[in-house]
């Protein structure tokens, strides 16, 4: 069985961490991931760019709507994810606009950071 583990943080919490605590956390993270990797239990891991880079895409009655921000409706629940390769945001939007379930829900597009560690 594969499990998708979603990581949540409040920016205010992150800001409150001292630099020493933060580097301890980063070291721990590195060790943790290496261990999982060795056991063959790490499928993939990525860090997202900040939420202000998010774009939400919907298609209704054949019309594409693109909006700034993570605006899933409260009734919408996370159904799955796609990790895609695209040269820029326009190409990512073009791909997602053709994703059949987009007609019934919304997709939040978030760019991934180049590096896992800050």
């Amino acid at each position: 069985m594969k499990y998708l583990c979603l990581i949540y943080h409040a920016q205010s919490m992150l800001d409150a961490i001292s630099p020493a605590e933060f580097s301890t956390m980063q070291e721990g993270l590195r060790a943790f991931l290496e261990e999982l990797q060795e056991k063959g239990q790490l499928v993939d891991v990525n860090r997202l760019k900040p939420v202000r880079t998010a774009t939400t895409v919907r298609v209704r009655e054949g019309k594409l709507s693109t909006t700034d921000g993570p605006f899933a409706e409260t009734k919408e629940q996370l159904l799955g994810y796609l990790l895609i390769e695209a040269s820029d945001l326009n190409e990512a939007i073009r791909i997602i606009a053709r994703f059949p379930p987009i007609r019934f829900g919304s997709v939040e597009i978030r760019p991934i950071e180049d590096s896992l560690y800050v």
């Binding site: 760019k49 900040p50 202000r52 880079t53 998010a54 709507s65 700034d68």
Partner: protein
Amino acid sequence: MRRENFLSGVVDDLYRAESRRVFATLVRLLGDFDLAEEAMHDAFAAALEQWSRDGVPANPRAWLISTGRFKAIDRIRRRARFDATLVELAELLDARASETAESQDDAHLEDDRLRLIFTCCHPALAPDAQVALTLREVCGLTTEDIARAFLATAPTIAQRIVRAKAKIRDARIPYQVPSRDELPERLDAVLAVVYLVFNEGYSTSSGETLTREAIRLGRLLTELLPEPEALGLLALMLLQESRRAARTSAGGEPVSLDEQDRSLWNREWIAEGLALVERALQSPRLGAYSVQAAIAAVHAEALTAAATDWAQIVGLYDVLLRIRPTPVIELNRAAAIAMRDGPATGLALIDAILARGELADYAPAHAARAELQRRIREL
């Protein structure tokens, strides 16, 4: 001394006419808004200095672009000494600088202005950010000008612009004109920004800056991309703005369309608007701006309020309602029918719309209803 004065006049004129074009191209060549802005200013400063010595070059715009680009590469190199992450960028810009002489031909440069417009009006940016960014980057307004026009503080506007530029960079919004099949949706977004700027200027007395910029944007768009709806929007703005002098009384009170002194209407803009409407209406697929412009054109052609061709206006509202079925347009259609068929017919339609409840809190609906009741009493 005289020569320097003359030169600074030349550079000032060039700055007004060309700085946003030069900027638009530098964004493409340098891949970054802030770097392009600095480079553009560096290039104009260098022009003042160098042209007084060597004379004005044959193609000042090309000179400014290539000077700006080399100044930017210098800047990046200097910064790279302290920030190793920039070394790669400096090398990349350097390599590109030698290979792209042909990318500075006229067609490319015109496209750069469209690229800039489509990037600033990208739907992945918040609407208020699209507006601020367009006024700042395409029109060249200062943050203070924009803040004054929108009754906001300069730091609020500045932050909006900084965030928008960060999103362009971090989410990698590309600097490009959308492809043919994406154009309708993306052009809608651009036109929405232009009309938002116009309406903001229309509704405030100090708004002439904004209506002027909106019309300037509309002209630029129709010049670069003469799509029917772009023509329609420019026509609509010109026809609405042609009534500016007649729209308010000497005491600052609003004057309704039927009571306006039509000799105060700007005939030049009306003529330009009418010609544009005609071009827009030749399109097989009519858009909402074009139809609204056509309605404004019928009013503009009537020498007196009594001479208004209400039958034609009702017909145009029928078309508009099919394109955009909203209760407000239905209300306007009812008001036009009241003018064509008498107040009782119009009143019945308005009552039916109000009975559905969507416009229960919409003051103009109740004002229109009261006006029709008054006219029925006067019959």
